[in-house]
């Protein structure tokens, strides 16, 4: 009843919301959640202040889609934005909902 899939998590600046959501949709992810987080990154200067509201997007996808999404995010945003992205393996209860 469970399927081993990948939970992709990306934390990014509010200003990227529409682009990142678009990027997830374009890669055939079939669902995701967005939540607001306050963050503090590693970009010097405001080292002791919060950078203010960021967003976190999470999506459970196949390994293939996870890699494609993360690669696209690295290419587009890592140079110029405070973006953090990771994945980890999870056991999903209704796997068929997420697989292609």
């Amino acid at each position: 009843m469970k399927e081993r899939l990948i939970l992709v998590t990306v934390i990014f600046e509010n200003v990227l919301k529409e682009e990142i959501v678009e990027l997830f949709l374009k890669h055939k992810t079939t669902g995701f959640t967005l939540s607001r987080v306050d963050g503090q990154g590693s970009r010097g200067v405001r080292a002791s202040e919060f950078e203010g509201p960021n967003l976190k997007i999470e999506s459970v996808v196949s390994r293939e889609i996870a890699d494609a999404v993360l690669e696209a995010i690295a290419e587009k945003y890592f140079e110029d934005y405070s973006v953090i992205a990771w994945d980890c393996e999870v056991n999903v209860l209704r796997g068929r909902k997420f697989s292609p």
Copy 2:
């Protein structure tokens, strides 16, 4: 000092809040957190719109409890609701707080 336990995560519609919390309590989970997330699922129609506020519940439990909770959720809600559920292994600092 650490114990290998299971982090159970379930994302569900607001309307199920009381029932899902009840379900977690009934299975002897000793703690959980709830947070609001915005979600977009795979239920067609509103493919380019957000479905609005959902809830995410997270709880660290034994393998046995994790399986019982997830099975109960699948049975009760997967047919009629947009519910997503997964688990993954975590190393918990104060394991005894979660174990039976």
Copy 3:
């Protein structure tokens, strides 16, 4: 392009916010996010009520830093506060941002 690192998660009472953030900064974590969660713990009494807003801090760090942070949290807060802490391995896209 990915690096195996540790996602540290700590859930704690609002009153500890400044101290916990300070503790993360002191351990050379280079970024973290904070989000509000509602929680219910295992401290008896209010078993059927929510304990109200807690905070969740998440940070991706090296194994060494993860252990140091978690040990410090256990020492300082486990006796007197409702603190829950765990870690799990994740594959971070831009690892160099987090490593020393």
